[in-house]
Each structure stands twice: as C-alpha cells, then as structure tokens.
C-alpha cells in the first residue's frame, strides 16, 4: 500500500496504537481487568502525547482548531432531549467522550480535524472529507461505531459497524487518513 506520508505505519500498527482512554471503560458492566488497566496506562501516555506533539511541532493553529472542535463536541452534552425539534435523544456522555478520544487520536496521528455533528439518535458523527473520499464515524457507544467510507466519484461505499477499538481494521480507512494530509 502506497502512502504519501507516514509510510512506516501499517493499518495493523495503527489499530494497536488506538486505545480509548480509561474512563470509557467505566461504562462497562464488568470492572476493568488487569490487562485493561495496563492498556489504560498506555492510553493515558498516548493522550498526553497529543498535546506534546502539537507543542513540539509548533502547530499552534492546528491545535487551536482541534480544541475548538473538541469544545463543540463537548458542548453537545448541554443539548436537552428533543434538541433537533423532532423528539431526538439527548446526545450521550459516552458518545461525546469516545468521539473526543477518537478525534484526538486521529489529530495526533494525521493532523486531521473532523467536522462533527450531533445525531438525533443520541450519537456523535465525525466526518473527514477530501475531494473524492468521505469518511464518517457514527459513534454511539464503545461497542457500536458505524464507519462509512464513500468514494464520491465511483459511489463505492464501505460501511461497517464495530466496537470502537476495531474501527481501524479496514485498511482503506488508514489509507484515506494517511493520504489526506
């Protein structure tokens, strides 16, 4: 697979690096296992690198824009049920947390900033759009994320629903993100 940037990374490696922060596990029905706790420590360090990398590269405008988008997503928590004027659900705290984590990870890895949107069904949508490709994550909870990758020239659509930990399993998702810098 050819990429214009980050040629040392493979999809599998990306999936391995993607780990939501520990507080998303607090919503699970069972308590975190020892292995999850270890992974979570890695996740904390990974998150800290988001800020660190941005500062080191002096990409202040990119970080500023990212923080603006992050605040917009967090702001969805203030919208009451029925916010769309048609009996929509309140956007869930889980969806907001996971969306900010996923957006943060993609910003860290690719310096891409999404177009977010609240969903009437209570989730959060993150869109990454290039000239002919559109990638969308529809995030509901940690076991339920729908990924759509649409080629607007050929109308080819890849769509799947997976747990948030597995959203990068499709190689073309990685290919799009790494090429769209």
């Amino acid at each position: 697979m050819k990429t214009r940037r980050k040629t040392s990374s493979a999809p599998h490696a990306l999936s391995k690096r993607w780990t939501p922060l520990p507080w998303c596990y607090s919503y699970g029905q069972s308590s975190a296992s020892t292995s999850e706790a270890v992974v979570s420590q890695d996740a904390v360090r990974s998150f800290e690198r988001i800020v660190q990398v941005a500062i080191e590269t002096d990409d202040s405008s990119g970080l500023g824009k990212f923080k603006e988008i992050e605040n917009e997503i967090v702001g969805y928590s203030e919208m009451p049920a029925g916010w769309d004027s048609y009996n929509s659900k309140k956007v869930s705290f889980k969806a907001i947390e996971l969306a900010t984590m996923l957006a943060g990870f993609i910003f860290q890895e690719f310096k891409l900033i999404p177009v977010p949107a609240p969903m009437s069904s209570g989730g959060v949508s993150l869109e990454y759009v290039s000239e002919h490709i559109e990638l969308e994550f529809e995030i509901f909870d940690r076991s339920n994320v729908t990924v759509s990758l649409l080629n607007t020239q050929t109308d080819e659509l890849i769509e799947y629903t997976k747990p948030i930990l597995d959203v990068f399993d499709e190689p073309r998702v990685y290919e799009f993100l790494s090429n769209d810098n």
């Binding site: 048609y86 609240p118 069904s121 649409l150 607007t152 109308d155």
Partner: protein, 123 residues
C-alpha cells in the same frame, strides 16, 4: 402523495457548516431519528397550506432554527417512503421519511435540500 409535493424540515444550527459564508447542510441533518421508525420527520407543505399553517409558524417555537425543502420525489428516488405520521395528533402536517439512511442517501438529501430559512447562530 404526489412526487412534486414539497416537504419542509427544520434544521438546527449544529447541522450547518459555513464555507466562505455559504450555509451547507451536514448530511447528519437527514439521519434517521431512531431504530423504531427508521425515519426522519418533515412537514407536508400542502397540508400546511390547506390548514393555513405557514413556515414561520412551524419555526416559531424554535428560534434560530432553519427550514429546508425537499420533495416527495427526492425521497422516492432514494428508495424512501413518505407517510403521514398519524401518532402526532398535535401536528397534522407531520410526515415520516422512511428507509435506510446510508451516507450516500443522507448526502443526496443534503444536496437536494433548498433553504427556505437559514438558521441563525443565535440558535
């Protein structure tokens, strides 16, 4: 319902992206509301006009929201059904646009939609 029938749908400001001052509707504005009805809501403009209900009245309780129009034909072309939502006894104009809303379907609705009232940032 005739293909030419115009449907109105309220648009919250969060569903609008501004590019150089032009308001572009996000495709999420045409997502299904839930897994019960597999539909989003709209208003039948012909019923509204018959009852003397104007766009401003449909927007009156939702300051800052915008309004777009699509046609029944737009929906049918995207393999959707349009049916009156009889459960809503308060609003006889209320219809459901029913069917799976894949990204291409939502995108096509967003492209077909025409602004009647653009939302304001105050919403």
């Amino acid at each position: 319902m005739d293909e030419a029938t115009i449907l109105w749908r309220r648009i919250r400001p969060d569903w609008v992206q501004y590019n150089e001052g032009i308001a572009k509707i996000k495709s999420q504005a045409f997502q299904n509301q839930d897994q019960v009805y597999h539909a989003f809501s709209a208003h039948d403009s012909e019923v509204a006009e018959r009852l003397g209900i104007v766009v401003q009245a449909i927007l009156s309780d939702f300051p800052g929201y915008g309004m777009v129009s699509i046609t029944v034909g737009d929906a049918l072309a995207l393999n959707q059904k349009v049916e009156p939502f009889s459960d809503d006894t308060d609003d006889p104009t209320h219809v459901h646009v029913i069917g799976k809303k894949t990204r291409p379907v939502r995108r096509a609705f967003a492209e077909a939609a025409k602004w009647i009232v653009e939302p304001s940032s105050a919403g």
